[in-house]
């Protein structure tokens, strides 16, 4: 007669024994970061080669997740470094006393918008938000060239967007459009009208980037809004039929940063890591291998790949303070009053059926 229960117990004990972590006397340094496995392991191994007494451990997660985590771990901080998030998340964390101030050696080499208030964070990479399209379906001259072109009825049911509530990229673009209209009228109404027009052309809102890139490549949609480095990466690595347009009228640029996490005892290794990953050579490597645009302006363009060095980016000026104060309200309004209210949303699609 088979006896599964004792067998399970034995298996469990063996498993536990096999998995207990080996202690090798190195100091461990924990990094929370959305930058992805490949960039992280690359920097990990180069850093460990230089500082052999440090064992770098990283957790790869979305930047909003990092903030949530730092909040819940406030009484027992696990991380030393938070590497990667749009500036407003860092500002928020700074206000909540989750970060330690630190002024890096290169602080003067970045523009003012890359210096966090109270030295709580500094900018590392710049992420321009652009219009992207399926290059197998559209020639460059056929793609929408400006933001307002997206409202043209010829794109009806051809635009697929990421759900803006869950995506920093989309939030930034939506809020930038509202800010742009606000400059003219002083109220968000004009921006809402613009977003209503976009909603009318939007076929679907998808929850994540993977589904977005699949749907675009599989021709369920023609046009989307995305960031420039990701498209360069997808193109270079997987040959996806994707291309992008930088609207000459200006693109919103998200400033990505780095910060030290507040712990009872700050660790010297954390500062070493901070400086290491933001050093000139590391930034060049990140640009070449991982498609990141450095925020520091003391790096010679000739060292950077051509898509960065030779493309002038028309930056759209954004009122960051206003954006931080009002974005929640704007996005809630969008969710309740604009999402799927356009006449081509899934609700009106024949296949939507009982969707509403």
């Amino acid at each position: 007669m088979a006896r599964p229960l004792p067998a399970i117990a034995i298996a469990a004990i063996l498993l536990l024994a096999a998995c207990s972590p080996a202690e090798d006397g190195r100091v461990s340094l924990v990094v929370y970061s959305p930058h992805g496995k490949e960039l992280l392991s690359d920097h990990e191994s180069r850093f460990e080669a230089r500082y052999p007494r440090v064992d770098v451990k990283w957790l790869d997660m979305g930047s909003q997740d990092v903030l949530d985590r730092l909040r819940s771990e406030k009484n027992n901080p696990q991380a030393d470094i938070w590497w990667g998030a749009p500036s407003d998340l860092f500002e928020q964390a700074g206000e909540e006393a989750l970060l330690l101030p630190y002024r890096p050696t290169w602080a003067e080499a970045v523009p003012a918008e890359a210096r966090g208030s109270g030295d709580f964070w500094y900018g590392t990479y710049k992420t321009p938000e652009v219009i992207a399209y399926n290059s197998a379906l559209l020639k460059p001259e056929e793609a929408p060239a400006e933001w307002d072109d997206l409202l043209d009825p010829k794109w009806k049911r051809k635009i697929i967007l990421r759900d803006p509530l869950a995506s920093g990229t989309m939030r930034t673009i939506f809020c930038a459009m509202i800010l742009r209209e606000m400059e003219k009228t002083g109220s968000p109404e004009g921006g809402y009208r613009w977003l209503r027009g976009l909603d009318a052309n939007t076929k679907d809102y998808v929850p994540n980037l993977t589904i977005l890139s699949q749907k675009l490549a599989r021709r369920e949609g023609w046009v989307t809004l995305w960031n420039m480095p990701d498209i360069e990466l997808q193109r270079a690595r997987y040959d996806y039929p994707l291309a992008y347009v930088l609207p000459a009228g200006g693109v919103p640029v998200v400033m990505d940063g780095i910060a030290l996490v507040a712990r009872s005892e700050p660790r010297p290794a954390a500062r070493e890591f901070y400086e290491f990953v933001t050093s000139g050579p590391s930034l060049v490597r990140a640009a070449r291998e991982f498609f990141r645009i450095p925020a520091r302006n003391d790096i010679s363009p000739s060292e950077l790949p051509s898509w960065i060095g030779q493309t002038p980016i028309p930056v759209m000026p954004l009122d960051r303070d206003l954006l931080r104060q009002r974005s929640r309200e704007w996005m809630r309004y969008w969710d309740e009053h604009i999402r799927h209210k356009g006449d081509s949303g899934p609700a009106a699609a024949p296949s939507g059926g009982m969707g509403r």
């Binding site: 007669m1 088979a2 599964p4 117990a9 298996a11 469990a12 498993l15 536990l16 998995c19 972590p21 461990s28 959305p34 992805g36 490949e38 957790l59 790869d60 997660m61 949530d68 819940s72 771990e73 406030k74 009484n75 027992n76 901080p77 696990q78 509530l165 679907d204 809102y205 998808v206 929850p207 994540n208 980037l209 993977t210 589904i211 890139s213 699949q214 749907k215 490549a217 599989r218 021709r219 369920e220 990701d230 990466l233 997808q234 690595r237 997987y238 040959d239 929640r328 996005m331 809630r332 969710d335 949303g345 899934p346 609700a347 699609a349 296949s351 939507g352 009982m354 969707g355 509403r356």
Partner: protein, 561 residues
């Protein structure tokens, strides 16, 4: 069954069972309730008023209810007949397909749902095939809205009905049926008045789990909803937008609805008289007479299972297709093993797999021990607080996984013995604990259904023949409970193995599970490798089902047959 305990040993069980439930299940929930009622440091009902007066919230509530009831109905319609086909009749290939039919209970996180898109979505395999076959210019359908959510739910949740009813059928006393038939009752009447009532505990358990899982279900409405409002999504959106109070109110409402359903079902269950009395079980498979019938049943059962496994096959296909090449074709144009190669080249490849195995084993062992104690108490009809106990054991299922994790993270963020709080955040133990809590309902319901069907006279016979209480437990009760306990534990184990929604909130450097690794691959756009990881997970789950399914089948055959 009624096996009463003497008061002292009853207390020995009651104290730890209730203690654990109050501390780990009720306490964090009360925490949420309390915070939903407080604003600006004073008691307020404002948040609830805002909820009730919002048309979009009411729409979400209505949709959630409709979808959950629909999911129960559809899942039962698939799961119950399938259980009968595989566990009442014998035909070639029965065993292996009976085990495989449990597989859809766990689609690998993230990539599993994407497999649905590649199958039934607007550009999916089936959709495009139909479009070409029928010569349409537009896709014939797209996976979107309430029908799509119901479709995905039925596809994955029928397994609760299938497994629970299968376990009950294995324990069904054939002599009852024969008696009924020989007394002149028709087959239909026998089915309705004898077989069905005996299956009631299993069906009620499965209905509850399905209802609660649907209420809290996240991925299906998130990915296929196309804008349909449901409560679980509202919670997520409120939280994302920093509207914590509203998220808490929505959580409380969702929990209340699930509890209401539980109470209604308990009322119904209490009126039933379905305890099996008899001389133990003599489960039997009916060998089918006649080649045609044999073949028919085999074809029916096997094709149903193959159809239900289509998303799994799709995932295998994706894992072998070259990233970026499958765009306008029905099937991937180019195949490669590079996706698996990339996984194996990573020197940390085994880490998440070992982590998940370790944590799932720990959590499931705890679940089983706990369920045996709780299941025993739950059948003590005289026990005061039995209803409360039942409600408490099911409560974790009423909560979305994110909420369970957030509750744990909030409650156990500091050590404070006075408030019964222990610092667990950032430690290895919090994740196995979350798995344990989330799977309490699954294992307890399964074990309870097993207890309900048990004939107490066997225990008393053993006792009167001089066996000790423990001996009877070990040699009589546990072996008879095994099909039900194993069904529940198996489910709990595989659920923990691929758990995503709680894990993502509270995993640590030392407890990075498989699901988080899949997410990491997706974040890099390594779509094929994410699918390959999903396929590995499916293989592990299939191994568990085949291994345990077989042990079960051999074990419960009574001696002499």
């Amino acid at each position: 069954m009624r096996i009463s305990l003497n008061p002292r040993s009853a207390l020995l069980l009651v104290l730890p069972v209730f203690g654990l439930l109050l501390w780990l299940v009720l306490y964090p929930n009360l925490f949420v309730l309390w915070r939903s009622l407080v604003g600006d440091d004073r008691f307020t009902l404002d948040h609830y008023a805002a909820f009730l007066s919002s048309p979009s919230q009411m729409e979400a509530l209505g949709n959630s209810l409709f979808i959950s009831l629909g999911s129960v109905l559809l899942s039962a319609l698939i799961g119950v007949p399938l259980a009968f086909v595989f566990h009442r009749f014998d035909f070639p290939g029965r065993r292996i397909f009976a085990a495989l039919a449990s597989l859809p209970v766990l689609l690998p996180p993230l990539v599993g749902v994407i497999a649905f898109l590649f199958l039934y979505g607007e550009s999916g395999i089936l959709t495009r095939s139909l479009q070409v076959l029928l010569g349409l210019s537009e896709p014939p359908f797209s996976l979107r809205g309430i029908p799509a959510i119901l479709w995905v739910h039925a596809y994955t949740m029928y397994v609760y009905f299938y497994l629970f009813v299968s376990a009950a059928l294995k324990r069904l006393d054939e002599s009852l049926r024969e008696a009924s038939l020989s007394l002149g009752a028709s087959r239909t009447r026998t089915f309705l008045r004898v077989t069905l009532p005996v299956l009631t505990p299993a069906m009620v358990g499965a209905a509850l789990l399905t209802f609660m899982t649907s209420m809290a279900s996240f991925s299906a409405p998130y990915i296929f909803g196309g804008g349909v409002r449901v409560l679980s999504l509202q919670i997520y959106n409120s939280k994302l937008n920093g509207d914590l109070e509203m998220a808490l109110v929505e959580t409380v409402v969702l929990t209340l609805v699930s509890l209401l359903f539980l109470i209604l079902l308990q009322r119904y269950e209490a009126t039933g008289k379905y305890r099996a009395v008899g001389k133990g079980a003599s489960p039997s498979l009916r060998p089918l007479r006649g080649k045609g019938l044999r073949l028919g049943m085999a074809v029916l059962g096997i094709s149903a299972v193959l159809f239900l496994l289509l998303p799994h096959f799709t995932l295998v296909l994706i894992s072998f297709s070259q990233d970026g090449t499958w765009t306008t074709q029905i099937l991937p144009p180019r195949y490669t093993a590079a996706n698996y190669g990339r996984l194996l080249a990573d020197d940390r490849f085994l880490e998440p797999i070992l982590n998940s195995l370790k944590m799932a084993t720990l959590a499931t062992a705890a679940n089983l021990a706990f369920a045996l104690a709780a299941g025993w108490l739950l059948i003590q009809r005289k026990l005061r607080g039995r209803r409360l106990l039942s409600a408490l054991t099911l409560l974790p299922w009423a909560l979305p996984g994110t909420v369970v994790a957030l509750n744990l993270a909030t409650t156990f963020s500091i050590s404070d013995p006075l408030q019964a709080r222990v610092l667990l955040v950032g430690t290895f133990w919090i994740l196995p604990l979350a798995y344990f809590i989330r799977n309490i309902p699954l294992v307890v319901r399964a074990v309870q259904a097993g207890f309900e069907q048990l004939d107490p006279n066997l225990h008393w016979a053993a006792r009167s023949l001089g066996a000790s209480w423990f001996y009877s437990l070990r040699r009589i009760l546990l072996p008879l409970l095994l099909p039900a306990a194993a069904a529940g534990s198996m489910l709990a184990f595989v659920t923990a193995l691929g758990e995503f929604v709680s894990s993502i909130v509270i995993y640590t450097v030392d407890s990075r599970p498989i699901s988080v690794e899949i997410l990491s691959q997706l974040r890099q756009f390594n779509f094929g490798s994410a699918a390959a990881y999903g396929v590995l997970l499916i293989l592990m789950i299939a191994a568990v089902f085949l291994l345990f399914g077989r042990t079960l089948d051999e074990r419960h055959r009574p001696a002499g047959q």
